[in-house]
């Protein structure tokens, strides 16, 4: 929630702004601006055009950061000249990223819409890190999010003692972003009730927050560079639909589910590699296992096999993020309970939990897939044989 994030935000911002941010190993996860600090710094040093104030990088360098580039950059990091490769962070349609960057440079805010697990938050984090050097000014939308979480609240004890003063005001991430001219991330905006969402209308149109309790300083104005990246799950559409007034202030960018096998394998490979490093699990997952994993998820998602057979689709979301989660679970299983190397059987054991969640009828869907598809492939492909046997065993 907002209040939990804000105490760390100042530290993280300053950390990201320094040229040599120290990596803290005792954190489960570091924000993008810390994890990729060297890449961001290298891009800053090599930026071909001056960035629009107060962006940290020019739009082209932001694009290069998100999509990666072949050219390895030379940069001075911690006093030494080093080669810094720029890795690809987002896999999918490059034009989507271009449109997102351009939106953030314009008057309108950005709303990334898509199925769960399509990388909306991931893209949002990297855009904020590259543009503002800070991805942690975040509001997580829920049914319990209030206007205070968006704008500001008060230190009640001090207000009782001293009355409302600027010092007693506790700014929410939006206000911090406005004051510092940075990007605010608003996750799952459509989970907030409409009244709370509408608090954003004046922020986006007037670029200001009114504080009526402070007669002498009752307007907080946004500095240039302030904008909002919101995300919304397309499965939530219609629950708390944005009002027409708010819709008008957002450019929507729909992030589709990855359709082709190659891109999905790329995503699972890159993201699982990163996660394995974080959990200190040695070695990447072999390519054939990744291919098998991506194939299973893609076929179950689309309801059709590569041979053209129609199959049932599970009720749960079979996203690329789920595939990445399945790959990590399989690697953890192999590391601690298996032979150390991730095989098709490890994938199969962990697949059940990814597919069967709320609806037990999905057991039948998975069984059908195993019988109609995996079993047939198992007759000619040893990897599929291992997969089929382990999955059938896991399902009982």
């Amino acid at each position: 929630m907002a209040s939990k994030k804000k105490s760390e935000s100042a530290d993280e911002t300053s950390s990201a702004l320094s040229t040599a941010p120290a990596k803290e190993r005792d954190r489960v996860r570091e924000p993008a601006e810390v994890r990729y600090a060297h890449e961001l710094e290298a891009l800053r040093q090599n930026d071909p055009t001056p960035p629009p104030s107060p962006w940290k990088l020019s739009p082209r360098s932001v694009l290069a950061y998100v999509l990666g580039q072949k050219k390895v950059l030379k940069a001075t990091i911690d006093g030494a000249v080093v080669d810094v490769p720029i890795t690809r962070k987002f896999f999918g349609d490059d034009a989507l990223v271009e449109r997102a960057i351009v939106t953030l440079a314009s008057e309108r805010a950005l709303l990334l819409v898509g199925e769960p697990g399509t990388g909306k938050s991931w893209l949002s984090e990297h855009l904020a890190a590259a543009i503002s050097g800070c991805s942690t000014l975040t509001i997580q939308g829920t049914a319990g999010t209030t206007e205070e979480h968006i704008k500001y609240s008060w230190n009640v004890a001090r207000v009782i003692a001293e009355g409302p003063t600027p010092q007693n005001l506790i700014p929410a991430p939006t206000m911090i972003a406005m004051k510092s001219g940075t990007l605010l991330r608003f996750e799952e905006i459509t989970r907030c009730v409409p009244d709370v969402q509408d608090a954003l209308v004046s922020i986006l149109s007037d670029k200001a927050i009114a504080v009526p309790e402070l007669p002498d300083a009752n307007m907080i104005w946004a500095r240039p560079g302030f904008n909002i990246i919101a995300t919304a799950n397309s499965r939530d559409q219609g629950v708390n639909e944005l009002s027409a007034a708010l819709k008008r202030r957002f450019n929507y960018i729909h992030i589709p589910v990855i359709a082709d096998q190659k891109t999905e394998v790329d995503v699972v490979r890159e993201r699982s590699k990163e996660l394995l490093e974080r959990y200190q699990i040695p070695g990447p997952i072999d390519e054939p296992v990744l291919q098998l994993l991506a194939t299973v998820f893609r076929e179950m998602r689309t309801g059709a096999t590569s041979e053209g057979t129609s199959i049932q689709k599970p009720s749960t979301t079979v996203s690329t993020a789920e595939a990445i989660g399945c790959a990590l679970d399989a690697a953890l299983y192999a590391r601690f309970f298996g032979g150390g190397v991730v095989g098709p059987a490890d994938v199969a054991r962990n697949l059940v939990g990814s597919i069967v969640k709320e609806d037990m009828a999905d057991v039948g869907v998975l069984k059908e897939y195993l019988t109609l598809v995996a079993k047939k492939r198992a007759t000619t492909d040893p990897a599929w044989k291992q997969f089929h046997e382990a999955a059938a065993k896991a399902l009982g």
């Binding site: 739009p59 034009a95 449109r99 351009v102 819409v113 109609l372």
Partner: protein, 838 residues
Amino acid sequence: MNERAPHPVVDDVLTVPLLGAGLDIDAVRAATAKVLADDVCWFPVRHHSPTAALHLRKAMLEKRPKVLFLEAPADANELVKHIVDPKTKPPVALYVSYRDDDNVTGLAGIASPSPDVPPRFSAWFPLMAYSPEYVAMKTAAEIGCDVVFFDLPRSALIKEHETAGADGDDHNDVEDAGVDGDDQSEKRGESWEALAVRSTFYAALAKSAGFRTWDECWDALFEDPGRHQTWRAYREDLAAFCAAVRATTPRSRVEQDGTLARERFMQKTLTTTLQERGVDGKDAFVVCGGFHLFLDRDDVVEPPARRPGTHYATVAPYSSFRVSEASGYGAANRAPQWYGLLHDACDDSRGGDADDGAVDAMLKHIVAVLRQGRKEGDGLSSADAIAAAQHAHLLARLRGRRHPVLDDIRDALISCCCKGRPAEEGAHLVQAMVHAEIGNAVGRVTPELGQLPLVHDFYAAVDSLDLGEVMGREKRLTLQLDLRKEEDRRRSVFLHRLVHLEVPLGKMLDERALAGTLFSERWSLAWSPKVEEALIEKNLYGDAVETAAAAVLEEQLAKDEVHAGRACQRLVRSLNMDLPGMMLRLESACGKAIDEDQRFVSLADAVVALLLLDRHAARGALAREALQTLIERAFGRACFLIPDVSSVAEEDQSAVVAGLQSLAEVLLGTSTEGLDKDAFVENVSNAATISTVPFLQGALRGLLCEIRAVDATDLADRVAAYARARPDVLVQAGPFLDGVMAVSKTSLLLGADALVAAVDELLRAADDDAFKTMLPLVRHAFERLHERQRDALAGHVAERYGLREAASITKLETSTDALAEMARIDKRVATIMKEWAL
């Protein structure tokens, strides 16, 4: 002009890909310089490129050549005067056709329906008002310059049968055949763009610059009118680009697709024309695809000659839709209206400005899209237009462009105006974008050109039948006809004749639904340039729509006399087309075909067609007795052929089942007098017994049930029998049930209890593997039923498993005191809710 103008494309964009494709940039520059230093002024263009047209016009006005050589088929040269006639308004198209009367290509029977029908080939060359070729011709007329079409006639490009076979490339062969009215010239890869897209240079360029499509690449490099300050700079940049494409295109490819043959013809025509007319090279101007600038000037091989046969060329009205990609035209213009807007906004002779014109055009286009979107129901405001324009500018800048190109504008509109998925929430917007990009312009050709007799007769009929509303616009019109009215009957006859001639003006709606109605027809009419194209093609059959229709019918009749189904369907058509002379001939042909035809499906089709005719007999002055005899003969022969089709291959099964259903429907109908139901039942029963195909067994048994020849419990017994069979037989219940459901719907529900019990028994008997083997077909079988029928069956299943109808549920008894207490509580709750303002 000796000083070198800036060349933004070569200087800024091409260096990396040239290196990527292994090319030496200096060599490319040298090749370009050599061509551009030629006395003759070679001007490279792309079809429908407005910017090329703008620069080209400036070049011609400055150079004032005496002869203009244009890349268009030489045998259409006579048409130039009609194209530039002020009464001709683009979009129009050059149309050339060739009929191989003596089968010199050896393609009769391959590219034509039969060996005795000569193959016909045709091609279209569309011209928009801003097409460089059209602008060049208009400018030539303005400055008194002769125009010479110097491309090889189409007929010379057709590959002979033997040659085509030797290539071993079936795909190319089919396209080379270029039969009947398709835009084969473009599909065949004659457009140099097709070669460019496949060149390694373009691949390297797209990769390094991030172009998603060839169109985006072209627009970014060559469709920004202000990017090149002079026509010379534009020409030099484009020529260098084409030099790189040419250098990375294998010679075998240009040899195979006919490019070399065409270039030999171009070079020869150019040289001989200049010699014959005594014109100096400096007074000649060439407009052609950029690829051809680098043709081999030392090639001494003779070009192929025009083939003997019937050649025809004309100019016909065309439409912007037909020029667009949406129509499937090979070398399409993806947004004809948008490029027209761009051209006009940048044309200084129309008050436009090359530098600001692109922005002006973009704003007009965005406003047009939003206006159309509002018509479609989207709430789009001026604020959206402003946001989209700003977004397009920023996108263009991010992508390294001076001004937004169409791709940037499309992306901007989607970003700013589409609140969700483009295919769903943005469907109206996308439609509006397509509408604004393509437009609905239709061209006109000068009356001086004259019309072919069939075309003339067609337009005369359109006028006399008051169908003029549909002409000259690509808008669909629905026409309801009452055949009891004389004018509507004449319209119906005319439209049926056009359908038979394959002239795509109208399509009959609800044909099946109206099959039983005697006096109603509904037609959907829409004019398109294809109408004129088909009329030109069919002119060879006759001078009037009526005689041409009769001639086509005659030709078809000669081809398959022994096909009862087709013969009888033609009889129906001749009735609809009001061709009484043909009907008498067809009636006798039908009798012969019915007697000789050994195909069940064909005979079943014949029965259906004859019954339809019988209903309309009064209208067509047909002898009903003769018809009744034909029906009985066809029905009887079809019945006796049923056992022959009891075990046909999978690909023929659906046609057989459809034929069986047709015969069953006939028996269930009202006109069954004289039809032998017993023979049908007996033959279906025999077929079911001898059939080895479970799906057909199911269909045949289901059919018997449907015509009440057997009881539904019989079907259920057979399903239950599978349950008690060996596992390998048990799994055949899947296709059997699929066959049953394919034909039997109503009767099935009558015996639903028994069938549900049988299926239940079957599923209980099947082990896991057998169940999963049967599952896809059982699922498919039940999906054949209508939702209501499925619900009814589901009701039987529910009942079988203990659920009861609401009516049979025991009513909950309660006391009067309890009811009074409940009413009191209810009232109290209502009061509380009222207090709470709920």
